[in-house]
């Protein structure tokens, strides 16, 4: 924390959460004024939720029908009664977060209860961590999960985030991929309409590890996701993708740092962002290549589809390269729906709304294609096709 922030007078909301919030003067927070946007004095912790409400929320999950191993967190706390924990290597505690940042500090003051999963070999079913927040009064809940994927192990991992009420969810996730390990990670941010989602995800890859990472950002009034991928061993490969489907006055800001600390690693980032109404999307992607990290291959791109004249997208790509033998690049595009595409579809009899939905699904479909789990891919495709009608109703 900067000294300026530490000595500033805390707002009632900051006092309630127990930590100062960043202002727009901080470079990473230029587009998201957390201090001004979080005005509600959220109570720390959302307490114990009614089990029948939890059960109803679980049943309504878009992934409920898929054969996944489900582990449920309610208001940031592991809910053993709704979770399938048999044969799962699970213990209390988690290592400290690597980056001392605002959202990490918040996770500490919210006294998230840390748990660690250890995965060895190949998991029998994909692991689905379902994070639910049910708040009757405005409340802030932190969750803290560490996943350790052992050398040579592989895991399909899905996390979903949903909830009811005016709450603030602050999940912090760390993942360690061992040598030659593989993870297919998919995150579905489908928080409630009044929610604030402030997430931290730190992933570290040992040598020859493979990461396939996808995030759908479509819930919450306010979303900020801090991601950090660290290459700690040579020959690792990470593809990080994301899709935004935002409408109304939604605001989502992803700050993703890909840190190549060692030679010969490959990173790809592709984000496809759809904004309608007054929504605003931000993508801040930073690729760091350390002086020793020769033969790094790192590329990032973000593409925005703006469905209304008031919608906005801001991209801030950054390359911080200290090695000389590398291939790195970035690109960003932004535009509205292609009028020729619309006319062609409509000229074949497809009504306007349906044609739009098809083109939106096609736009984000590029990143869905990289999702390994077929059932999940189908859920995502259906979600994108129905999104336009759903968010306007």
């Amino acid at each position: 924390m900067t000294s300026a922030a530490a000595t500033a007078v805390l707002t009632p909301a900051e006092m309630a959460i127990g930590t100062p919030l960043p202002t727009r003067r901080q470079e990473d927070w230029k587009w998201t004024d957390l201090r001004r946007r979080i005005e509600t004095p959220y109570a720390r912790g959302a307490g114990v939720a009614d089990p029948s409400r939890v059960a109803r929320l679980i049943a309504a999950d878009p992934l409920a029908k898929l054969p996944l191993r489900r582990v449920v967190f309610v208001n940031g706390v592991l809910d053993r009664s709704h979770s399938d924990l048999t044969g799962l290597a699970l213990k209390d505690g988690a290592p400290a977060l690597a980056e001392a940042e605002w959202l990490a500090a918040m996770n500490t003051t919210l006294e998230a209860q840390p748990v660690t999963f250890t995965v060895s070999g190949t998991a029998d079913r994909p692991l689905h961590l379902m994070f639910l927040t049910l708040a009757d009064a405005p409340a802030a809940a932190g969750a803290r999960v560490h996943i350790d994927v052992a050398e040579g192990a592989s895991l399909q991992f899905i996390e979903s985030h949903r909830g009811i009420g005016a709450y603030l969810a602050n999940p912090a996730l760390t993942i360690q991929l061992g040598k030659g390990a593989r993870m297919d990670r998919a995150k579905l941010e489908l928080e409630g309409a009044e929610a604030t989602h402030l997430a931290v995800a730190e992933l570290t890859l040992a040598a020859d590890a493979v990461l396939r990472d996808f995030t759908l950002t479509s819930g919450a009034a306010l979303n900020r996701q801090n991601g950090r991928i660290t290459f700690a061993g040579e020959g690792a490969d990470a593809r990080v993708t994301g899709a935004y489907l935002l409408g109304g006055a939604q605001h989502a800001d992803t700050r993703l740092v890909v840190d190549h600390q060692v030679p010969r690693c490959l990173s790809r980032e592709v984000f496809k962002c759809v904004m309608d109404g007054d929504a605003r999307g931000v993508f801040q992607g930073k690729v760091i290549v350390a002086p020793d990290a020769q033969k790094t291959d790192g590329k990032q791109s973000s593409h925005a589809l703006l469905l209304s004249e008031r919608a906005e997208f801001d991209a801030k790509p950054e390359l911080e390269i200290y090695a000389d033998d590398v291939v790195c690049g970035h690109g960003a595009t932004s535009g509205d729906l292609d009028h020729d595409h619309m006319f062609y579809l409509m000229s074949r009899g497809i009504p306007q709304a349906e044609a739009k939905a098809m083109l939106i699904a096609a736009f984000v479909g590029e990143v869905f294609d990289g999702v390994d789990h077929e059932g999940l891919r189908d859920v995502l495709t259906a979600f994108a096709q129905n999104w336009l009608t759903a968010h306007k109703s």
């Binding site: 009028h339 020729d340 595409h341 006319f343 062609y344 579809l345 409509m346 000229s347 074949r348 009899g349 497809i350 009504p351 306007q352 349906e354 044609a355 098809m358 083109l359 699904a361 096609a362 736009f363 479909g365 590029e366």
Partner: protein, 251 residues
């Protein structure tokens, strides 16, 4: 079937008038060819009839089976039976050809109050018609027109036409970019769709296509109007003499 009276159209953004009092009447079962030099307004006519944005109709009427075409959305015109085979079919990445065709057909059927086709019914329908037009299963698996050669795009257009079974087909420069073999396949596909209750308007710059799709009526279009109408022999005459005299006369 199609009745156009004194149609005046200008470009919305630059205000330039493209169609200057065009009149045309096409009866069911007839095939009409519209020939003319570049810039005479042939493509504008096809786009205006299909409902593309960017044009302003300042005068005149266009009706399909008595119904005011110009008041309808492009998808409504399609459901009423209008089909435009594009001169440059649009590539749409990420939209699978089969899904596109199925959504289009069922949207039209729904608009007409007909029962929607099930997946197996639809698959059978497309498979038969695709075979006739030399459209491979592999092409159908690709996104709409993406990675298609010029000839493949035109065959795909005619396949769409065959599946959607329109009442009025407008073929805009369907021969452009085709070699003689591809032209033959496309023309056979079009001829197979000739029917007593279906009309066609074939827009072309060259007479060549009309050797394969033989029209009942040939129109010469110049400077935004039909300036001469005749039988199929008119096409040969144009091939021999060119459009010079019409261009001069129209200006």
């Amino acid at each position: 079937m199609l009745d156009i009276k004194n149609l005046h159209v200008k470009l919305e953004d630059e205000g330039r008038e493209i169609l200057k009092g065009l009149t045309l009447s096409v009866k069911p079962g007839e095939v009409h060819a519209i020939m003319g030099p570049n810039g005479s307004g042939k493509s504008t006519l096809s786009y205006v009839l299909a409902g593309r944005e960017g044009y302003e109709v300042t005068d005149g009427t266009a009706t399909l089976k008595g119904e005011d075409l110009l008041a309808l959305e492009p998808n409504e015109r399609a459901a009423k039976g209008l089909f435009l085979a594009f001169q440059y079919p649009i590539e749409i990445p990420g939209v699978a050809t089969m899904q596109f065709l199925k959504v289009a057909l069922n949207a039209q059927r729904k608009a007409r109050g007909e029962k929607e086709l099930s997946v197996p019914e639809f698959m059978r329908l497309v498979k038969d018609k695709a075979q006739q037009l030399n459209v491979t299963q592999e092409m159908l698996k690709r996104p709409v027109n993406v990675g298609f050669s010029g000839g493949e795009k035109k065959r795909a257009e005619i396949l769409q036409m065959a599946v959607l079974e329109p009442k009025l087909c407008i073929l805009d420069e369907t021969d452009s970019g085709l070699d003689i073999d591809a032209l033959r396949v496309v023309a056979e596909g079009v001829n197979a769709l000739r029917a007593p209750d279906r009309a066609m308007v074939v827009i072309t710059h060259y007479q060549r296509l009309l050797d394969y799709i033989v029209p009942d009526v040939v129109h010469v279009m110049a400077n935004g109007r039909i300036v001469r109408t005749g039988g199929k022999e008119l096409a040969r005459e144009l091939e021999a003499k060119g459009y010079a005299e019409y261009v001069e006369a129209a200006e």
